[in-house]
């Protein structure tokens, strides 16, 4: 270490020092990341989800998840290649692996997680060209216990962070190339831009928080273009060329890749699985083993047909009725109507014209149902009509109750519904699967809808169906799924099955809704964004005898926090000083030593790190969904970089106030202190990542006694 400090001069020509530092950090990474990587040999924390999903990929059964597919596909691929057979159930955290080949997947994730460190080193070098700040920044990240813990398991985070680091490295590489005046369409430039675009696409396809890094790269790119534009010695056409190059490589190319990943995802998952119910009938028709696969039905709906109706809400069930009445006190004591997510004979309804039992055009057979028609729906099993009246719905007091009424299909005027195709014209034929239809009660002018609320026991915990006077309710849309009618020619469901693009958009709609649905419940303890930077509370990865607790190295985290504050002060102070100097016509002297790593470039790099931190942290304040501690780690990368840069900046500025010799010594001592503090704190807290056993830390005989610095830490 002292070697490095002596050769503090950060000139890029000093190749040996550069390689030595890089080597030390890589070695450190290798040692820390792969030490005890296969322990504990049971399912830790969210491995239960991602392991399960990897199995589904290997077995090719369809499932639903709120995250995009790339991360899980990579995990599955690594598992497949290393001999995992997809049989282990991954039921709950703590399950022993018992011979299941989880090693490959875990080592794969750890490898990606380990690569973040060298990537950060390269990024910081590209940003600052100062070996000191690069070393400190990377070392802080290396010594963070939380970062280590998070990147060692079968999780999406190591993959996300890896691709994110790739993107950040790429964007600063592109900046250097642009600054050096490289032609926009030169091979080197395009290669780096394509690499950057690919990294962006990968980040976005692992988790949607990748969007923040896309924003960061967008900002950085605009800044690049702005710089090019400001160079009056160059023509405007240069900027336009850069713009075109970047639009293609950073916008079009990532989109193509992103869609391609989804294509793989949808192609691989070809068999019916537990995710079917979240998707529409057309989507399900694509899945082998689903009852809609290879089925056939008439193309249009005709009077007399027996049909099932599926609600268009994601995860919406089938319109259902059964031989049970609403209990006393819940509206009229008539037969219950619900939605039911499983296929069942009680989901069948017969379509009948409103004017009586015979129906219009009974003789000719195929009188087709058209948008705007009045009709009755009769429950096939119980021969009661779908009915609504002025009574409160069981769970939603503002809506009307829907019941089954009448005997053998003879009811009253309240059984008449008007069928309307959403977005269609009056007189359009109603198509199986394709048409989104609405049933509007003729007398009460309300729409048949499902509220999604679960009925109590008397309703067998199926979902409530009600009639909503607000005709704009999004849950009021239904589609015909089964359509049994012999007089019309049948068509294969292949025709209705969604195309790739339709499925792509539907997947996104479902994912978005899934994400929005992740709301904290009343009384649930959730992590709050304000707790993250102060390392307020961690997260247990593994309990029992081998305890692993995700918690940042408090020394690193609190230093990061302090340096964020210091950065704002330094930044404001500098801008004001600069402006004042300009006002009085003075020049500020720079304390640069070596080419390109003067104060200006350090501050600029610090500014971008801070922007990156803010972009990856601030948006969480505005999110309504459930948040977790590990959401902070992308921001942590930027925060550590900022600390590294600013430490060196401050030390250099302090040195100016001391004499040459004394300054040099003080600087070296300070650097040594920083480095040893970081390493020692890592040593202290490393049991959090490598596993603790024995008593909890609030008891005196624990190995972690005395390290419980905050009341809220639970290890």
């Amino acid at each position: 270490m002292t070697e490095i400090k002596k050769n503090r001069s950060a000139s890029s020509s000093n190749n040996k020092i550069w390689w030595l530092t890089f080597g030390i950090l890589c070695g450190g990474t290798l040692l820390t990341r792969f030490y005890k990587v296969l322990e504990p040999d049971h399912v830790c924390w969210d491995e239960t989800h991602f392991g399960k999903m990897a199995s589904w990929y290997i077995n090719r059964t369809f499932f639903f998840d709120v995250h995009p597919p790339l991360g899980k596909m990579l995990i599955a691929l690594s598992g497949k290649l290393t001999g995992y057979d997809g049989k282990f159930p991954f039921e709950k955290p703590g399950d022993k692996y018992d011979g299941a080949r989880y090693e490959g997947m875990r080592i794969f994730c750890t490898t990606l997680g380990a690569l973040i460190i060298p990537l950060t080193f390269l990024t910081m070098w590209e940003m600052t060209k100062s070996i000191d700040s690069t070393f400190i920044g990377t070392l802080l990240l290396l010594c963070d216990v939380g970062f280590l813990t998070l990147n060692r398991y079968i999780l999406l985070d190591p993959i996300l962070l890896f691709f994110m680091s790739c993107s950040i490295y790429g964007v600063f590489k592109v900046r250097s190339l642009t600054d050096s005046g490289l032609e926009p369409f030169s091979t080197r430039m395009l290669c780096w831009q394509l690499y950057l675009g690919a990294s962006l696409a990968c980040t976005m396809s692992v988790k949607f928080v990748g969007l923040f890094v896309v924003l960061f790269v967008g900002l950085r790119t605009i800044a690049d273009l702005w710089n090019v534009l400001g160079d009056l010695s160059k023509p405007v056409s240069l900027t336009i060329k850069h713009l075109i190059g970047r639009s293609i490589t950073l916008i079009l190319w990532p989109i193509v890749l992103y869609v391609f990943f989804f294509w793989i995802h949808l192609t691989v998952l070809s068999k019916s699985g537990n995710g079917d119910g979240f998707y529409s009938s057309g989507f399900q028709a694509r899945l082998e083993g689903n009852s809609l696969h290879n089925a056939s039905a008439p193309r249009v709906l005709a009077y007399g047909a027996i049909i099932t109706l599926k609600n268009h809400r994601t995860g919406g069930g089938y319109l259902h009725s059964h031989h049970h009445l609403y209990p006393a006190g819940v509206g009229a004591r008539q037969q219950q109507i619900t939605t039911y997510t499983h296929k069942d004979d009680n989901n069948r309804w017969q379509v009948r014209a409103w004017g009586g039992a015979a129906g219009a055009g009974g003789a000719g057979g195929a009188a087709r149902v058209r948008s705007g028609d009045l009709l009755r729906l009769t429950h096939a099993a119980s021969a009661r009509n779908l009915h609504s009246h002025r009574e409160r719905a069981p769970l939603s007091p503002k809506l009307l109750q829907v019941t089954g009424y009448g005997e053998d299909g003879v009811g009253d005027a309240n059984d008449v519904w008007k069928v309307i195709i959403s977005g269609g014209k009056d007189g359009d034929e109603i198509q199986t699967v394709r048409s989104k239809i609405m049933f509007v009660h003729y007398l009460q002018a309300c729409a048949l809808t499902t509220t999604g609320k679960q009925l109590p026991k008397w309703g067998f915990e199926q979902q409530e169906v009600a009639c909503n006077p607000n005709l704009r309710d999004k849950n009021a849309l239904w589609n015909v799924e089964d359509n049994i009618f012999d007089q019309l020619p049948k068509m294969s469901f292949e025709v209705y099955a969604s195309g790739f693009l339709e499925r792509l958009f539907e997947s996104h709609a479902v994912m978005l809704q899934g994400n929005a649905g992740l709301k904290p419940k009343e009384g649930e303890v959730t992590s709050q964004p304000w707790q993250w930077p102060i390392n307020y509370r961690g997260q247990f990865f593994s309990g029992s005898a081998h305890r692993i607790y995700l918690l940042g190295n408090p020394v690193v985290w609190w230093a990061n926090l302090a340096f964020l504050v210091i950065f704002f002060i330094v930044f404001i102070y500098n801008s004001v000083r600069e402006k004042r100097a300009k006002a009085f016509g003075k020049k500020i002297q720079e304390t640069g030593d070596g080419d390109g790593d003067g104060d200006g470039s350090l501050l600029n790099a610090a500014g971008w790190s801070c922007a990156g931190w803010a972009l990856h942290y601030v948006p969480f304040w505005a999110m309504g969904r459930v948040l977790y501690f590990h959401h902070y780690f992308p921001a942590l990368v930027f925060s550590s970089m900022l600390t590294g840069i600013l430490t060196v900046y401050l030390l250099r500025n302090l040195r100016r106030y001391l004499s040459q010799e004394l300054g040099k010594t003080a600087y070296q001592c300070a650097m040594g202190l920083v480095i040893s503090t970081a390493v020692y704190s890592f040593y202290l807290f490393s049991p959090l990542a490598y596993g603790m056993n024995g008593p909890l830390s609030n008891e005196p005989n624990s190995t972690m006694a005395g390290l419980k610095w905050l009341e809220s830490w639970e290890f």
């Binding site: 534009l229 400001g230 607000n470 004042r580 009341e711």
Partner: protein, 781 residues
Amino acid sequence: MVLKKSTENKSSKISNKVIALSEPEKGKCSLENASTTCKREVDDGAPAENENETMESMQPIDVGEIIKSVYLTVEIDVVFVGLLLMALCTRLYNLEEPKYIVFDELHYGRYVSLYAKGVFFFDAHPPLGKQMLYLAGQMAGYDGNFTFDRIGSPYTESVPVKALRIVPAICGSLLVPLSYQLMLEISTYQITAFLAAALVLFENCFLAQSRFMLLESIQILFSLFGILCVLKSTRKKNIASVIWLCFGALSLGCCFSIKYSGLYTYYLAIFLIGRQMWKRIDQTESTFKLCLSALWRFFILIFIPLLVYVGVFYAHLSMLPKAGPHDSVMTSAFQASLKGGLASITKGQPLHVSHGSQITLRHSHGRTCWLHSHAHVYPVRYSDARGSSHQQQVTCYSFKDVNNWWIVKRPDQLSLAVSNPPDAIRHGDVVQLLHGITSRALNSHDVAAPVSPQSQEVSCYIDYNVSMPAQNLWHVEIINRESEDSTWDSIRSMVRLIHVDSGSALRYSGRQLPSWGFHQHEVVADKVITHQDTIWNVEEHRYTKAEDRRERERELVSAEMIPTTVTQLSFWEKFLELQYKMISHSPDAPQGHMFASEPAEWPMLVRSIAYWLSPNSNAQVHLIGNLVTWYAGTISVLIFGALLAVYAIRQRRAYVDLPPYAAQKFYDAGCILFLGYWLHYLPYFFMDRTLFLHHYLPAYIFKILLLAYVIDHIFYILCISEKIKPFTHVFILCITIWMAYVIRTYKMFSVLSYGNMDLTEFDLLNLRWKDTWDFILHKKN
């Protein structure tokens, strides 16, 4: 001074008469000033501060002038007065019609009634707006005895409808001349300022919103006035600047004391002052002077609004001394400080909880409920096949009940009677809690809780002899203790009860028990002890006197306390608690309201809101904008954004498009109007609650002004460039035609603001310009 404008801009169509009661010298002087200003513009394009030094301020009395000179200058701007009169005519016309409860008058009316009766209520919005409504009602002698039961029910004679509606109506009227005034500062030509005011005047949504007991028009008035004052302050120097800033801060304080969305205006003002200071940094002023002026500016901008805010709450709390229906939201201490209600029960009860105390334990934060038990046991098996301890249920019950009483007992003492002096329980003591009626002890053990299986079950212990020993010791941890051995006080102390054997804390889990638990709330012992749901406090409290169990039960059932003194709570304690509750209050507004809308739908006016429908005709009131202005506004935002980008890019390439004076104006408009618009609009995208069109109005006023500015700017560009000058007339013609169309639309839709005309189905269909607008039609009988 207005004369200067009209001579300068020959295109100005409106002739202004200035009635200036000023000394002749004064007038001359300002004319001279004006000419020097013009010269300076040509010379070096001086920054706005200098040049606007002499710009008119058409307040009836200019405070800065008074201080500068001994002369009293009174100016009346005819345009200003004319606009005000027109606005008053439209806003006040037939104000007491319809004589029915319209939309949110339901809520605000209720609050006014509660103010009139002095009964405490809780609302998530600050109180100034409601207080203003109340004051108007008070003057007209409203006694608060009308029950606002539902939208559409008729007012009785006892409600002074006109008085209650007059404050918003006047504020809404003032908005028109105020827009004119603000635009005079921002735009180049007077005529565009007039145009802006006319657009506000002929905007149906402002008309409808000002005519009822709603707060938006008051809020917007304060918001615009605040911005105007701050703007004037940035353009003046010395004492005039201070005075304007004080006015601005006052107005902004009022603004966010009406609705919290007023805070966005406040941020805008801070930004404007910050921008002014930032610009002054690179002038050769002494650093000391610069720091000083920055300091006092921010001092004013922070303290005056804060003072207003606190003052408003002070008035609020002192106006509402009585207990009422919303009490249960607040903590016991707060409730006890109100007249009637809890105070009458808890007055005179002993302070220190001691061995033998009979107490009720209230869950302190969030949902109001008391620790409760009853003679029913947990079912042996739950529906998910897990087993229970089959011991007596412990729940959290939201109503007062005799089963909420518990007796505090030290584990080593047998007698329950309170000794003399009482043996007070202190922080850190270990106690048992006996349920008053059943005499069973509060217990917890390693059995999963019924609804939250990750936590431990809490029960009242029944000894079944099944090798499950009683674990009924609880450690008292007083959270707001002053010293390590502080006593456990009723009402005041916040305690956490830690189970001695497991280290878990007694906690309200937030979930409801199924029917076997009578749908009461679940209580568990949770390992995470720092959660705020683990905090409890003693509400009712008395000492056990009788030794005998029967006697004790009788005591519990028939308890009646004799009040002697009131619990005192300082204003600050009350204020902070109220703030905390307002922040943590989650509105249970109905999801999927029929007329709710999304922020993304607002710029295109996709949805309207039905405010009222007459019970016997199709006359109705809707909040709906003037679609012509609305669309033009949206386009103007796009145009302004495009212009901003184009100018920035061209400037980067060192092209100069605008003379410095015009560039200055352009960027000022950008900072005030463009930024103001987004600042009031964007936050709604991140709000997780039911939103309505009227949330857009504070942003919309900035948009209208921006529209006027964009017209002004385009006109200016047409005027200065020689090549396209002939298009000026075409442009004027277009604007005139468009304005005529705006007025026509306004007239067409004003029936929906006044609600004074029966409409046929044909009329409504005629007005339904968009498929997404829902008007209401009575069914034909």
